[in-house]
Point group: C2
Chain length 142, copies 2
């Protein structure tokens, strides 16, 4: 079974002077403004392709990690992941960094790091992005 | 110069029974619920990694296309792009389809399709996703 999710984007004008919106179509959660300035300068309350990619990647990684942990017999109390996406205008997306801190009872830090590495490799968004460098900083929460 | 954009994701519990949120951190635009059901069954007002990826890709493609057009001497009145991301549980993200319709004065449909193909190849999110099949349906708006 294949599931399809959809978003729509609108743009008017040139890259640098124009403006657009992007709409989360499948969920109906909203439409968000996007401009070149919000991507390459300051966000100023607007989104960007890289912020949305970071959201896709961090949420996918968490799901994958929750499942890797359960399969090894440990359900996570909480998993918190930050994704940072680097964008260099003229070059592209140069690196993604995932930083995860989690509360998992009955698991030592080394075993957690191994699980997190497996989730980084296996998560569908990581796989879709496998042509892009992805780094992981994983540890149990203090 | 490198720009970094950031999102954060939280998860509690197992993949199938657990739940989470994802937050657009750089823009501060909000935090959205995400569950396995919203990803693999019905969205029910919640987002998913694939919907967010579709949002990243469609907005990036539009920016790239606006610039390809301007460089060839044609500023778009409007560009509307839908991105559909296919997800097959157990397999991963199998295909992304971009459908673009645009209003561009002084450009015939063939020249527009050529510009859209260049934008598909060149856009930073397409490049980051180059390990994933991406299809494009491009035409000037009726």
């Amino acid at each position: 079974m294949t599931i399809t999710r959809n978003a729509k984007a609108h743009w008017e004008g040139s890259l640098f002077e124009g403006k657009g919106q992007v709409k989360l179509e499948s969920s109906g959660l909203g439409s968000f403004d996007v401009t070149w300035a919000s991507r390459a300068e300051d966000p100023n309350g607007r989104t960007s392709p890289e912020e949305l990619l970071a959201a896709a990647h961090s949420s996918c990684f968490n799901m994958q990690l929750s499942n890797v942990l359960v399969k090894a017999g440990n359900e996570a109390q909480s998993i918190d992941t930050s994704a940072e996406v680097d964008f260099k205008p003229g070059t592209g997306i140069t690196e993604i960094r995932l930083t995860v801190r989690a509360k998992v009872e009955g698991l030592d830090n080394d075993a957690f790091v191994t699980a997190a590495e497996a989730a980084k490799t296996g998560c569908p968004v990581s796989q879709a992005l496998r042509a892009t460098p992805i780094k992981l900083d994983a540890a149990l929460a203090e």
